[in-house]
Structure formats: C-alpha cells, structure tokens
C-alpha cells in the first residue's frame, strides 16, 4: 500500500520516443529519500550511475525532474521541486518555487514527473485526472513569461472545458514554464511560475529548454493524497497556521524591507558586483517600494498564510505595466544594489524583465554585474557590449539581460553563467582564468545569493556556501552538518516553503511529517540519518561532476576570492571572511558527516547510509 501523503504514482516520460509511463517507487526508497530534492537525487543516481562524469547535463539522457514531496499542499506553503544533473554545478540541486502546479499534480494523482530524451519540436506536458499527454507548444516557443502564462491559462482551461463541458466552471491549471533564457540554453536560467516565482538555482531552465519542454501544466479534481493519521494532520494544520499567522512583521513586509536594512545594518548586501556590501541609501527603503508600487500587500500561494509576497506594478512612465512581486530582497539586491541601482522603479523594471526573460533573478543578474566589473577593469570593452556599460544605469542592465537571453554579442558568452563565462572570456582576452575569477562571485558554478559573509552579521557565515552541496544557494546553506540537515534539506525533500517552516517549532513540523506519512520520522533521525544520506549522495554526485567541470576537493570548497577582500566601507569596514575559521569549520563539517579530510564520504559512511553503491566512484576520488 502507498504510504500516506503520496499520490503513489510518478510519470516517466521519454520525449524522444514520445512514450509516457506510470512508475512507482518502493516504500524503502520513499522512507530513505522522502521526495523532492532527496528522491530526485536518488533516482538520478540510479538512472545515470557510473556514467555520471561523462554525461553532459544538456544531453537528452539527463533527466529533468518535476517533483513534489509527501507534505506538498498539505503542509502550508505549496511548492514544486525541480532537479536533474545541474548544468551549473554538474552536481544536483533541489530547486524549488511556489506554484499551484504542485498541488494540482497531486490532485490529478501524480507525485512527480521525470523527463528524458528530447522532443522533436516544442511541447508542453498536460496532466489531468485522465493521465498525461504531450501537446505541441510551437506557438508558445519564443514567448516571454507573461505571454506564455496568459496563453496557456486560456488554452488549457478551454481544452478542459471542451472535454468535460457539464461539470461547471473550470479553474485555471497550475504551471511551470521557461522564457527565452531557458529556450536559448542560458546555463543559469530559471524554471518559472506565476509570473515572478522561480526555481532559480541549478540552471534547470536550460535543461528544460534542451529538451524542448516549454511548460508543464496540471489540473486535478481529486483530493490531496490521503494521509496516515488524518485527524492529527488536520489539527496540526490548524496549529501550524496559527504559528504562521502570529509572524506579523514577516506577513506585513515580507523580505521587501530588507533592501535597505541588510545593506545598512548587516552590511551584507552586494553592491556593484560585491565590491561593497554596505549602503545607506534611504531612497531604497521599504516604504519607497510599498507606498508607490505595491498593489497587493498580502499575496500568498496555495495553503500559505505567511503571504510574504506583495504584488508590485509600475503605473506610469516608460516602464508602465511592469508587474512583479515586491521585488523580494534577493531581487532588490541583484536587480538593484548589485547593479549600483538604488531606484525602486528601475529595480522593479529589471526584476520584471528577468522574470519575463526567464532568467533566474539572482544568477543571471550576478553574471551581468560580473560583466560590467570586467568592463570597469578594462578586460571587456565597449566593443564587446556594443555600447558603454555603466554602473547605476538601468538601460545598461536592461540591454545585457536581453543580450544574454538571446545570446547576442557578449551575451552569448555570459549565457554560460559567471564561472564558465570567466573561463571563456579569459581565453578570448588572453588572460589567466584567475585574473577573472577573482571577480566571479560563485561557489561551484552556482552564483551566490545576496547575503555576504564578510561582515559575519547576517545569517550567512564562513562555510555557509563553501561547504554547501548546492554551492551559492542562499536557501540551503551549510552550518554544522547536523542542524542544517533539518533545514532546506528537509523542506526541499518534503517540498514545502522555507517561509512556512521558520517560525514553526521543528517538533511540530516533524509530528506533522509523521502524521502524514506514518514513517518513523523525527527531528533526531532526520538530522542524524535521512538528511545526511541525501546530502552525502549530493556531495558524491557534485564531486564526480564532469564532463567539462570538475571541482577539486577543499580547494573548491571555499568562498570566492572577493569574500576575502576587506570590506571597503560601512560599519564593518576592513572586515573579511576569516580563512582560518573556514578551514577549521570545513573539517568539522566533513567529520560530522563522516566524510574524509577532502570531503569524500568514507566507505563506512556510505555503508551506514545504505549508499554502498557509491563506493567504487568515491574510491577513485579518495
């Protein structure tokens, strides 16, 4: 019997052969990997195996996975998790975004989809109560996010109505899709949802594009999956929401007030490609966004009362009609301060633009700012851009982001992401890669979220990124190899939102997990066993890497050079990330997780975690 919380079926789709199959996974596998990020990593390893290092992530053989977890839709904060061998890190990332696709898919009876192969023309997958089918998407290819969403909403709703005209009104389907960036294989492109929500880390937009998948849509009329202890689950559901509703300031302002405070207070907000992390620009304060642009102050996704999102719209001027969320803190930083832009209106425009193009709002803009610093340093020239790029100039970044999405001029190189672009440009300009990598703010190919480590005053520190199996991902930072196991590693595998997790007692969340699944699951055994199993598998796959990128243990388990430059300004002026602390904590992290001094999981650890099939490959790395 299917454990509680699972619809119990997954779809395996071979796009080359146009074949759709329903598959199941064993109870043991579900207990060991739960769902989402964990289960996806396990299935990837099972499917690719020893060929991992030879597999080009954009080759048809690399699976693209769209997974939910057993708590999705039931625990507050619906979310989808996409995965596959990452085109950015060559390991795996569980990359999540809020979208009703997740609960709709489960309502239609499926926990997830794995695509392999490549469609011979653009397609979208439509999942309904009657199964799944591939639909021609040629008419959608090339469209930006907004138009894709508008057209698909109408088209799919009409189709559903045509098929069952008598049941009453059909609600719109849930969906994820890619914009031009994903279609044109921008290596760090996002998988998009709901106009401005993104599975940003990992570059899965390009993986979707490489398979000619424009979108995945689902509409299910069934209930959410049945759970093991429904009465307990219903009570815990109400209790969880009480905790979320009590978080009054988070609900009131989301992360939308951080664009000022993180820069001014914790001095950890990127400014001009991280040349500084401090600003006291009051014109960039929360009220400047709220008063003029927020048209919806409490915006939530399915089963969420945190409602950290706020809808912004520009009502006048050349950018009239640009719609995005707050922008949230990350995009205030990456489409604002990190461009040297401190104007809320320009920030909203550029955030809306990255959404429309299907860039990841952190990763794509990180690369754009990197390019402008290379120009500042005289490495790239006006000729490379076709104009003179300037910090603080919205049109500079408007142009670069568009050039990246369609791979025009220098945009074609920048579309490879910050790390790979650094290598290509070094070659173009006859420089050593190190000369450029000192300006590249990434860890293991994944551009870093907008929280620096130099001031040590934010939640990110020494090994937050350096030791993370998801590199620069600010949502999944490394702490000590124990407490961090029950953070994003858990929420990305159970598949619900981080922001419906923090603020709720962890014991309550794990009681909820047990009530849903019936598994013997608690905070301790997740931190001590299930979490480490997932992270150890991810670490192994990341270090196997390849084909064109291989990370060197310890050397690449580090912060970018910039994080060791003294902060040039602000209350933490002169401060830098402490290399000694990084080295010490890194070793402690490895040791806690049972990895050797180079961070390669030991034979004993692999055996203990039921990962013995990795031993042959890990022996090669030791």
């Amino acid at each position: 019997m299917t454990p509680g919380g699972y619809a119990g079926k997954w779809l395996d789709i071979d796009l080359t052969k146009n074949k759709i199959e329903e598959v199941t996974y064993s109870d043991k596998m579900l207990r060991q990997y739960f769902g989402g990020r964990g289960l996806a990593a396990k299935i990837l390893w099972d499917k690719i195996g020893d060929k991992w290092s030879e597999l080009d992530p954009l080759a048809p053989e690399n699976p693209f996975m769209v997974f939910t977890g057993p708590m999705t839709g039931i625990y507050p904060g619906t979310r989808i998790c996409v995965s596959g061998k990452s085109p950015a890190s060559m390991g795996t990332v569980g990359s999540t975004a809020a979208t009703e696709l997740a609960n709709e898919m489960r309502q239609a009876g499926y926990d997830g989809v794995t695509f392999t192969g490549k469609a011979d023309k653009p397609v979208y997958l439509m999942i309904t109560d009657d199964g799944a089918e591939l639909v021609d998407a040629s008419h959608l290819w090339g469209l930006d996010g907004e138009k894709t969403l508008i057209k698909l909403n109408k088209e799919v709703t009409e189709e559903l109505k045509k098929r069952k005209p008598n049941v009453g009104l059909w609600k719109e389907p849930g969906m994820i899709y890619i914009g031009p960036a994903g279609e044109n294989l921008v290596r760090n492109a996002a998988v998009m949802a709901k106009l401005c929500h993104a599975c940003g880390y990992g570059g899965y937009g390009s993986l979707m594009g490489s398979k000619n998948i424009k979108a995945v849509v689902a509409k299910g009329r069934g209930s959410l999956p049945k759970v093991d202890a429904p009465e307990a689950a219903k009570l815990l559901w109400r209790r969880t929401h009480e905790h979320l509703i009590a978080r009054s300031n988070m609900r009131r302002v989301g992360t939308g007030y951080a664009g000022y405070s993180v820069g001014a207070e914790t001095s950890s907000e990127p400014v001009r490609n991280w040349q500084e992390e401090w600003h006291d620009e009051k014109s960039y304060g929360g009220p400047m966004f709220e008063t003029r642009f927020w048209v919806k102050k409490k915006w939530a996704d399915f089963n969420c009362t945190t409602n950290c999102m706020k809808v912004s719209c520009i009502q006048t001027g050349p950018w009239k009609g640009d719609i995005t969320d707050m922008p949230d803190y990350e995009l205030q930083a990456y489409c604002g301060t990190n461009f040297g832009i401190f104007d809320p209106e320009a920030n909203i425009h550029l955030s809306a633009l990255v959404d429309q193009l299907g860039h990841s709002g952190i990763n794509g803009p990180n690369t754009a700012a990197f390019a402008v610093e290379l120009h500042q340093r005289g490495i790239l020239t006006d000729k490379d851009f076709g104009f003179t790029p300037k910090w603080g100039d919205a049109m500079t970044f408007d142009k670069i982001l568009r050039m990246m999405a369609v791979r025009e001029k220098i945009g074609d190189v920048l579309a490879e992401g910050t790390y790979q672009a650094a290598h290509i440009i070094a070659k173009m300009k006859g420089k050593k890669p190190e000369d450029l990598l000192k300006y590249a703010v990434h860890v293991k190919g994944i551009e870093i979220g907008a929280h620096g480590t130099r001031s040590d005053a934010d939640y990110t520190h020494d090994i937050s990124y350096a030791a993370s199996v998801q590199g620069g991902d600010h949502t999944s930072v490394a702490v000590d190899g124990y407490t961090d196991m029950s953070a994003a590693v858990f929420t990305d595998s159970a598949v619900f939102c981080n922001f419906t997790y923090y603020g709720v007692p962890q014991s309550l969340v794990f009681d909820f997990a047990k009530a849903i699944t019936g598994f013997d699951i608690n905070l301790q055994n997740w931190r001590g066993e299930t979490g480490p199993r997932i992270v150890t598998l991810q670490r192994a796959l990341l270090m196997m890497g390849g084909p064109e990128l291989k990370w060197e243990p310890v050397k690449d388990d580090d912060n970018p050079p910039r994080f060791y430059e003294p902060l040039p300004s602000g209350p933490y002026k002169g401060k830098t990330t402490d290399r000694e602390v990084v080295d010490t904590k890194l070793q402690a992290y490895f040791e806690t997780l049972g990895w050797d001094k180079r961070g390669i999981p030991t034979k004993e650890t692999l055996k203990k975690l039921d990962l013995a099939d990795l031993e042959k490959n890990m022996a090669k790395l030791r």
């Binding site: 009453g168 009329r221 209930s223 399915f302």
Partner: protein, 177 residues
C-alpha cells in the same frame, strides 16, 4: 435544515483575497473530511497571478437555480437562506449551473452531484479561516436579503478582468485573454 440559524451572508472583498485558498481547504475538510480544493463550495479562481477571486453562491433573492431544477432537488434554508442540495434527488443534469448568473454550482468530482455552498449551517468555515488570517476577504454580514447579492453571482474571470484594471491600470486590459 437548521431552523435555529440566523440570516447571514458571506460578504466578499476580492481585492483583499491573498490567494491562500485556505477557504477551500477548510470547506473541504468540513464537508468532505479531507483537503479537496475542487470539492470545496468556495473556489478561488486566479486567471492571472495576483488576481484571486473567491467564487461561491451569492444566494440570489429569486434563486434561479432552485427554479431551474427539474426534480426539486434544491431548496433554500429558511434560516440562513443557503441553497440546500438534496443529493439523493439530484440527477446531475446541470440545469442549476446553467441557470446561475455566475455559473457557481458545479458537479462534485466524486459523484457528479450539484455542489453549492450551504453556509455550514450558519458558521461558514471559509470565513473562519479567512478572518483568522486577517484577510477579511470573506466576512459575515448579519443582514437580510439585498438586491446587490445577485451582482456577486458573476463569472470570476470577468470579475478578475475588472480587478486587473484596478490593480494594474491600463496594463490590466491585457493580462487576461
């Protein structure tokens, strides 16, 4: 039928809806025993992100759905004024859906019976969770029938098109095809 309940109406403020759909979950937990958005008597439509429209029975004064039912499966609760479906009698013909100016009723995904808000006998669960979260998109008003009610019985996509202009200005004209 609950003779003791007082006349109530669920007032709706579309612009205040966050889109959390907890109304759908609370409703389906109450009526179906588990989370089942598409079996909820209130359904939140979202033809474009940010435009969330809770869609539920407005209890029109002239009850066209009751009038249209060929087998007398529908009646109004004399206490609350809610439309009550006799599921035994319902023949799933869809006449009530077609008669409703807002196409509010729908056929239940499990047994195809007409499904309409029954006001939970006077204590609607959707309102309870919506006000608990402070949205107040759905609130109770203790007033008798009003001619305005029927105006809320409207296609949610049409309502969303109006909301779009209110929120997004001219751009709002373009976001729903």
């Amino acid at each position: 039928m609950n003779q003791l309940s007082k006349p109530i109406w669920i007032s709706r403020d579309y612009a205040a809806c966050s889109g959390c759909r907890r109304c759908e979950l609370a409703c389906s937990i109450h009526h179906e025993g588990w989370m089942w958005p598409e079996a909820s008597r209130v359904r939140v439509f979202m033809p474009f992100p940010g435009l969330e429209v809770p869609h539920l029975c407005a209890q029109c004064q002239d009850y066209p759905c009751i009038e249209a039912c060929p087998v007398d499966a529908l009646s109004s609760d004399p206490g609350t004024g809610a439309v009550i479906v006799d599921r035994e009698k319902c023949i799933s013909c869809g006449a009530c859906i077609r008669a409703c100016p807002g196409t509010v009723p729908y056929l239940h995904p499990k047994d195809n019976k007409a499904t309409i808000c029954d006001l939970c006998g006077g204590e609607p669960k959707c309102v309870e969770v919506c006000t608990e979260a402070g949205y107040n998109a759905l609130t109770i008003v203790n007033e008798g029938p009003s001619i305005h009610r029927k105006l809320y019985s409207r296609d949610p996509v049409e309502t969303a098109k109006d909301l779009a202009v209110k929120m997004f200005g001219e751009k709002g004209e373009e976001v729903i095809e």
